[in-house]
Amino acid sequence: MKFSVTVTLKKDVLDPQGKVVQNTLINMGMSDLKSIRQGKHFEIDVSENDQTVAEKKIDEMCRKLLVNLIIEDYKINKI
């Protein structure tokens, strides 16, 4: 069963990368750009057929390793 996990910085946390990318895009002439924030994306495949159980496992991976809960939020989606 495959899932995607999206990890984003919490709202008030500084995103130095996003900031630089945003400035660069605007300098390149993309003046319609209002904001851009950068995060992480994982594609995870687990050998588990029960979706609830699988999601629980993914959730555990997120909390234990993939996500820094202090500054990041995450979302899990089945794909």
Partner: protein, 726 residues
């Protein structure tokens, strides 16, 4: 809004302190003002528990240009060169979020140094973790090391030395101290003192966000179960912006635009503006609408208390704004005039055309509380075990135990993650007693080292305090530098506890005595109290960062053996002091008794005499003897060079364990070319130095006559496994 007791408490202020605030204001503060007071009056900014003791430290000397009280200390290294340096703690944030906590710690200390007009040339760190067996230690170690590297590597300043220790006492409260060293021209040092009326107060650097609001008060509170909920106060570092800020500031400093400059560190805009005004005896008025903000709808309270990183406050000479703005534009940084200096002696905060806060500057600065906290003398305890009754152990087994332990294993796993060579002036990298950094374009250099001894300080704070200063001094001497001055980071537990306050007072007493005797003044420093959880305090851990001068640089002296068949001399007397030694700790888990005695007279005499020998080019390599004693020091000299040594048994009948593992102070091992030995002995005798000829270097094997024979390759392996297997 009515300020309730609860709100006051949330701001970390006592009832007494709140009363005092009302008296100073002659009215009730509003929330913004309360926030400003809490930021300035907390331990971190006000030094309210430590100030009385810090006053006793020696801070003067011919070499001192600026002692404590500025962003960093400044010393004279001859010609028109000055060295600017300071150490600072970032303990609590690093425990909560190790990567960002450590990274922003490095960023913060760098700002302290380049604020003064110095280009940073070296970074150091002292990091202390809990037991390797503790569940959090591994990820904390990983996070802290990559955070330190992440920031320093990106900004391009070499991280060249440090210390890494593990001890259960830090299980719930790690220590992350970062030190930065910079080089400036003597007549181009910048200070924070404001001068002149109606001068522009300029905000430069990153935008202000909601990060770290109340970070400074967090650093002044003990951890408890609720610490997790304090998490959002962690800041994210942006080393790229800091690099731009550094270059822009150094560029602006080339002419005479700046009257005064101050980085926004703990308590951000509040402490920087108050500090500038208070030092200048002026008032300052800020129009908060103008503060560049990262988030929408930020309140004046949030702006004043935000600890967003990579920001500075500058007071400019009249008419220099345009030119200055050009420089900051070039580096894509915000540059906004947000206020002016006034003659009101008040901090005046305006927002949407109204005064939203007004506080006498002195109420925030000189009238902040100072506490003469009660303290009690340490009850020291002699050891209770009988050494003779301990299970016998072979020298080889004991040595292996020490060299493979987390605390004594090679730190290559760490230092390989730091760019140590960028700037192309690193003459001696980490791995030796001290690092050597050349002054750019000159043939002189400085040596730097950081040191601490928490076990010694715990068991006998006065001796411990002396010992760390001496060890630091020795570490500079062994690489051929004349020690000039120190900075110190005082990591302690809860100062409201009389025993802890006693540890503080007595450690400081020791530091003071040693610094005075060695003419090794303190020029900057930082105090971090409340290290501990729920009444469990860390061992007292003062950290000393020293800087020494090498007047004429040649090939660097290091502790690597240079060749075989040279003679080895042990300088200083060996008594075989084992209490508090790492021999007992690693082999028997015994942690008892008093640390080795520190004899300042011997320290000074031995050190200065060795420096004479080094300056006469009579020494091939040298190493101080510290934790682990003589045989550990010899092993380190072998491991780093691949050259062995043959050591004779001591002539007088002594216990071999005591002789080889004792941690007596003021000792060095030096390697001397055979044909210089006469000259060396003569000089040592002339100076009344006790010394022993203990053997000679040889290929491949470290050997004690009839007791031990182990190849340098094996030693290397033993010493390099722990981190890679952890």
């Amino acid at each position: 809004m009515i300020i309730t007791d609860q709100i006051v408490e949330k701001h970390g202020l006592s009832k007494e302190e709140f009363k005092n605030i009302k008296k100073l204001l002659k009215r009730d503060p509003n929330l913004l003002e309360l926030g400003v007071f809490s930021a300035m009056w907390n331990e971190h900014c006000s030094y309210k528990s430590s100030r009385l003791h810090l006053k006793n430290l020696p801070t003067k000397g011919k070499q001192v240009i600026q002692g404590p009280g500025e962003n960093a200390g400044v010393i004279d290294i001859g010609d028109d060169d000055a060295i600017v340096f300071k150490i600072e703690s970032h303990n609590h944030p690093s425990y909560i979020e190790p990567y960002q906590g450590a990274a922003t710690g490095v960023g913060g200390i760098l700002r302290d140094v380049f604020t003064m007009g110095a280009r940073p040339i070296a970074l150091l760190n002292s990091i202390h973790f809990g037991s390797p067996k503790h569940s959090k230690t591994k990820s904390l170690l990983n996070g802290v090391v990559s955070g330190i590297g992440g920031y320093g590597n990106c900004i391009g300043i070499p991280t060249v030395a440090g210390e890494t220790k593990f001890n259960e006492t830090y299980n719930e409260n790690i220590l992350v101290n970062a030190m930065a060293v910079g080089h400036a021209k003597k007549d181009k040092i910048f200070y924070s003192k404001a001068k002149g009326l109606n001068k522009s107060v300029v905000y430069v650097g990153s935008k202000t966000g909601r990060d770290g609001i109340h970070g400074a008060s967090m650093a002044s509170a003990e951890f408890d179960e609720n610490s997790e909920s304090k998490k959002p106060t962690v800041q994210v570092g942006d080393p790229f912006t800091e690099k731009l800020l550094m270059e822009a500031c150094l560029e602006l400093m080339k002419d005479n635009s700046i009257i005064s400059i101050q980085d926004m560190g703990a308590a951000g805009l509040t402490s920087s503006s108050v500090e500038m005004a208070s030092k200048g005896g002026l008032g300052i008025e800020l129009e908060l609408d103008k503060v560049p903000c990262r988030e929408e709808n930020m309140s004046p309270y949030e702006m004043m208390l935000s600890e967003s990183q990579e920001r500075m406050l500058i007071i400019l000479e009249d008419g220099k704004e345009q030119n200055a703005k050009k420089i900051f534009d070039k580096w894509d940084l915000d540059f906004v005039v947000i206020g002016k200096t006034t003659n009101t002696n008040n901090l005046t905060l305006k927002y949407e055309n109204q005064i939203v806060g007004e506080i006498p500057v002195e109420a925030l600065a000189s009238k902040a509380p100072i506490y003469d906290r009660k303290w009690i003398k340490k009850k020291t305890k002699k050891s209770s075990f009988n050494f003779k009754k301990l299970k016998k152990i072979k020298i080889e087994d004991a040595l292996i135990k020490i060299l493979s332990s987390p605390n004594h294993s090679s730190k290559n796993w760490i230092t390989d993650q730091y760019d140590q060579s960028v700037m192309c002036d690193t003459v001696l990298k980490s791995g030796s007693d001290a690092a050597i950094i050349r002054i750019h374009n000159k043939d002189k250099a400085i040596a730097v080292s950081v040191d601490s001894s928490a076990n010694y300080c715990k068991s006998h704070p006065i001796t411990g305090g002396k010992q760390i200063v001496c060890e630091n001094w020795r570490n500079l001497i062994t690489v051929g530098a004349k020690p000039l001055a120190i900075t110190n980071c005082l990591n302690f537990g809860n100062p409201e506890n009389q025993e802890i306050m006693g540890e503080f007072a007595e450690c400081l007493q020791g530091i003071k005595e040693a610094c005075e005797f060695l003419n090794y003044p303190v020029v900057s420093g930082n105090v971090s109290f409340y290290n501990g959880t729920n009444k469990k305090n860390i061992y007292p851990t003062p950290v000393i960062g020293g800087v020494g001068l090498i007047k004429k640089l040649s090939k660097p002296l290091s502790h690597h053996f240079k060749k075989d068949k040279s003679s080895l001399i042990l300088i200083g007397k060996t008594f075989g002091h084992l209490d508090q030694s790492c021999f007992l700790k690693e082999n028997y888990s015994i942690n008892e008794g008093l640390p080795p005695e520190v004899n300042l007279l011997n320290e000074k005499n031995n050190g200065e005499s060795l420096l004479k020998l080094i300056n006469k080019n009579l020494i091939l390599s040298s190493h101080d003897i510290s934790n682990g004693g003589l045989i550990t020091a010899l092993s380190e000299m072998s491991i780093s060079s691949g050259i062995g040594a043959k050591i004779l048994k001591p002539k007088k009948l002594t216990n071999l364990i005591e002789y080889f593992f004792g941690e007596d102070q003021a000792r060095y091992i030096v390697e001397v070319e055979d044909n210089s030995i006469g000259k060396v002995e003569k000089i040592l005798k002339e100076n009344n130095i006790f010394f022993e000829n203990i053997g000679f270097t040889q290929n491949e094997f470290l050997e004690i006559e009839g007791e031990l024979k182990i190849s340098t390759k094996d030693l290397f392996k033993i010493n390099n496994e722990w981190y890679n297997n952890y």
